[in-house]
Each structure stands twice: as structure tokens, then as C-alpha cells.
């Protein structure tokens, strides 16, 4: 099998923070990563190929008529912020998921990353206490005070010690795989499915507040990528008039 990551040029990710979106309700994590790439000008650092990644290809998602072809999984890097983003545009195949997570962990260990942030979302109706605070976190670090100050609550484990986050995709599994080797945090946003762009902006806002690397990113500078143009479909067919 070929290498999981194929870098375009020599890139040293030592000390970087990696953000990984889990495929989950409303695709909020992927939308968040899209916003970060488009707004902060991340560059594509590597292509990622694994038999467990459900394939997809398309034209450049961040530039109209751009030269790039995007694939299902790519690594974006911004060296001055010491931040890397793993954008996932499809999902991980169920039967190959364990193999993918193990291979990903081995590759990430070689990078000597500082920390990993897993973004995910869950169904709004699962919340027993409905309030404005819809962000929760799971972490193997002592970040309670910091999270409390930005109104992100801790997600309690179930009685068997496992975390149960419905609709969050592979987030918990990936956390369990990586937590013994990295500083790791799962950021959960409870959302309803619909127009989830505001949820993505809210997630960027929370990331700004707890990731030092992102503190320079202002919400006023947020740009939507060109691939969001047809969120509600194309123009209506002329024949209906």
C-alpha cells in the first residue's frame, strides 16, 4: 500500500496542532474546516489516500476555475500558525475504519504533533437541558477552567466509562485511538440539520478562543469558499415559469 500522506514539498509538522473533522450531523465540522481554509489561506500540504476513505473528487473548492482537483481527504497547512487541517469530504468505510484509524495514528506519531482537535456535532434533541450553550468537550488534558471561561461544558462519560455522542460519526472512536499518544480534545456542537453555516461560524468562534494558534482570526474576516455557492441547489429550471 502507498504512504497515507503524500506531501507536495518537505513540511515539518513538529509542534503543530491538527484539526480533524468527523463526519457528523449537518456536516458542521467539515463546514468549519472549509471556513478556516478559505478565510486564513491554508495551503494544500499533502494528499491523503487510504482504501478506507470513500473516494470523491471534484474541482477546486476554494477558487472558481482554480487549477486544483480536490479529493476525499487532504491535509492543509499554515506554517506561521503551526496549524494543520485534515479536510474530509466523504466518509470512512465501516469495515476499514479500524485500519484507517490505526494507520492514521502511526502517520501522526511520525509528525510529532503537539495536539489533536477533533470536531464533531450531535443531534440537538439529545440535549436534556436546552440553553444557548451547545458546545461540549471531551479531553485528556486539564482544560476545565479555560473551557468554563468560554462556556464550553464537559461531556460526561456513561456509566460504563464510554462516551456516547449520537450522530457524531467516528469522533469518539478516533479520540480513543489517539488519546494515549497526543494531547487530544473533542469539541462537540449540538445542532439541528438545515442551514448549518451559522453553526460552523460559531465553531470557528470557539476555536478562536481556546486555540492560541487561531487567536488572530477575526470573525469579520470569515470568507465562504466558492464551493458553497449551490448550498440550496442550482437556479430553478426555466420550464417551470
Amino acid at each position: 500500500m502507498s504512504e497515507l500522506f503524500n506531501f507536495k514539498e518537505n513540511t515539518n509538522l513538529e509542534g503543530f496542532t491538527l484539526i480533524v473533522p468527523s463526519v457528523s450531523v449537518g456536516n458542521v465540522p467539515q463546514l468549519t474546516v472549509d471556513l478556516l481554509i478559505a478565510s486564513l489561506g491554508f495551503k494544500k500540504g499533502a494528499t491523503v489516500w487510504h482504501p478506507g476513505i470513500v473516494s470523491s473528487v471534484g474541482p477546486d473548492p476554494y477558487e472558481v476555475n482554480g487549477p486544483e482537483i480536490c479529493t476525499a481527504c487532504e491535509l492543509y497547512v499554515k506554517e506561521d500558525l503551526k496549524l494543520a487541517l485534515l479536510q474530509l469530504r466523504s466518509t470512512i468505510d465501516f469495515k476499514l475504519a479500524t485500519k484507517f484509524f490505526d494507520d492514521l495514528k502511526q502517520a501522526l506519531l511520525r509528525f510529532k504533533l503537539k495536539s489533536v482537535v477533533i470536531l464533531t456535532s450531535s443531534f440537538d434533541y439529545e440535549l436534556h437541558v436546552v440553553s444557548n450553550n451547545k458546545f461540549y468537550y471531551i479531553s485528556n488534558q486539564d482544560v476545565g477552567e479555560l473551557m468554563k471561561s468560554i462556556h464550553v461544558q464537559i461531556k460526561e462519560a456513561e456509566f460504563n466509562g464510554k462516551y456516547l455522542v449520537h450522530g457524531s460519526g467516528f469522533a469518539v472512536k478516533l479520540y480513543e485511538t489517539l488519546a494515549d499518544s497526543f494531547e487530544c480534545i473533542v469539541l462537540i456542537k449540538y445542532v439541528s440539520e438545515g442551514d448549518n453555516r451559522p453553526d460552523a461560524i460559531a465553531t470557528v468562534d470557539v476555536l478562536n478562543k481556546f486555540l492560541d494558534n487561531l487567536s488572530t482570526c477575526s470573525l469579520n474576516d470569515i470568507k465562504f469558499p466558492s464551493s458553497w455557492n449551490c448550498v440550496f441547489g442550482g437556479p430553478p429550471p426555466v420550464g417551470i415559469y
Partner: protein
């Protein structure tokens, strides 16, 4: 789509709560029938995917004598067409596209030209500047900037999945040149008008195309109702 019809996607997020219990992966044992191994004269490799395209290729390009190798358990056939060109036909079954690509990676590394032709419903094609869609529309995505196919590039935000996407993804990752053709077709029966762009594509791929095909849409039964 008719006026007033509401198309609701089931979910956009491919949520799978079964992920809580993950199986351990065991690589499938695949037994090829016919010739085994990559042919020495392999020059061009073409992947085709989708029932309509299969029907057209079977009628106009392929015949059973061309069959080089097959994986019947997984609906994969490889045909030896003219000009050192091999055609891989595929109908989705149990194997993931990633597993198929791994199985055929030696073929991909040896081929000088790699093409994939996939079909998608025309309703899935999104373009802000196109309110009237033709019956058949072909778009391409190519890693080869010097390719000479007379075909427009696929526009954002259209995404393509399946084996064709897997082939191009693998080629991008491995530094190989490849071109993906996406044939957007409506749901009407195949005829000489809506298949004409595909026939042109077959010719530009240097395939030997039969002059005309009969019985493209065989009747399911002889009953009128």
C-alpha cells in the same frame, strides 16, 4: 423534477452510529478468472462504471471474446480492446473502491494513459449559470494539463464519487496522470440523440465503435401493460 416537487436528502452527513462497534479488518481473498497479471502490452486503461454506460459499451465496444480477466464474485471484468487498450467494467458490489484500487494498483502503475468514465443523473449536476440542462452533458477532470479532449472542465461544487473518483484520487496521490469523464444523463431510454456525446467520447478515446447498436432498450416483457 416537476414543478412543486420537493426533493429532501435523507441526510447530508452520512451518519453511522454503528461506528460504535468496529469490526477487525480482514483482507478479502480475491480469485481472478482468465488471465492473471498485468499484460505486457498495456498502454491505456479505461474504467467504466454505471448501468447506462455499461449497456452502451456492451452494445458498441465490448464483446465476450475480448474478455481478458474477471472477478465474477465482485462484478469486475477486464476486456482487451484494440490498440493495447484495456477496459475495466465495474458494477458495485461488496468490495470498496479502495480495495479495488489496491487490487489493480499494478495495472494503474503500468498504464501510460488512465481514463475513467462514470455516469451521474443530470439532476445531480449543479451550475449557477445553466438553468436549462441538455439531455446528456459530459464534463472532465484531468490531472494532465496537456490533455486534448474537447470537453469542458467540471465546475465547483459538483463532486463525483465511486470507482472513477477512486482511480483519479489514487493517481493524484501517486503522481500518475489520469482523466475522469463524468457523463450526466437524464432518465430517458437510450437513443441515438442522448447517446451521441458518449459515442463521440468513445471515438476520442480511440476505441473501435460499432456503427450502430440495436436493441439498446429491450422490452422487459411482451405485455403491453
Amino acid at each position: 423534477m416537476v414543478f412543486g416537487e420537493i426533493v429532501e436528502p435523507s441526510t447530508r452527513a452520512l451518519i453511522d452510529d454503528e461506528f460504535e462497534e468496529y469490526p477487525t479488518y480482514t483482507k478479502p481473498q480475491l480469485i481472478w478468472e482468465g488471465n492473471v497479471g498485468v499484460p505486457s502490452n498495456l498502454n491505456t486503461l479505461i474504467f467504466i462504471e454505471g448501468n447506462k454506460l455499461m449497456k452502451l459499451f456492451n452494445a458498441l465496444v465490448l464483446n465476450s471474446e475480448m474478455l481478458y480477466s474477471s472477478l465474477n464474485s465482485e462484478n469486475i471484468n477486464i476486456y482487451n480492446a484494440t490498440n493495447n487498450t484495456y477496459i475495466v467494467s465495474y458494477v458495485k458490489k461488496d468490495l470498496t473502491t479502495g480495495e479495488i484500487i489496491e487490487e489493480l494498483s499494478q495495472w494503474l502503475r503500468k498504464a501510460k494513459n488512465i481514463y475513467a468514465v462514470v455516469s451521474e443523473p443530470i439532476s445531480a449536476y449543479q451550475n449557477l449559470n445553466l438553468s436549462e440542462k441538455p439531455e446528456t452533458l459530459i464534463r472532465k477532470l484531468s490531472t494532465d494539463t496537456a490533455d486534448t479532449f474537447n470537453c469542458e472542465k467540471l465546475e465547483s461544487p459538483n463532486l463525483v464519487s465511486g470507482l472513477g473518483a477512486g482511480v483519479v484520487s489514487y493517481c493524484i496521490h501517486s503522481g500518475l496522470k489520469s482523466t475522469l469523464f463524468v457523463v450526466y444523463m437524464d432518465n430517458s431510454p437510450l437513443d441515438s440523440i442522448n447517446t451521441s456525446p458518449v459515442v463521440q467520447l468513445m471515438k476520442s478515446l480511440n476505441l473501435s465503435v460499432k456503427a450502430a447498436a440495436s436493441n439498446l432498450n429491450p422490452a422487459a416483457s411482451n405485455l403491453y401493460l
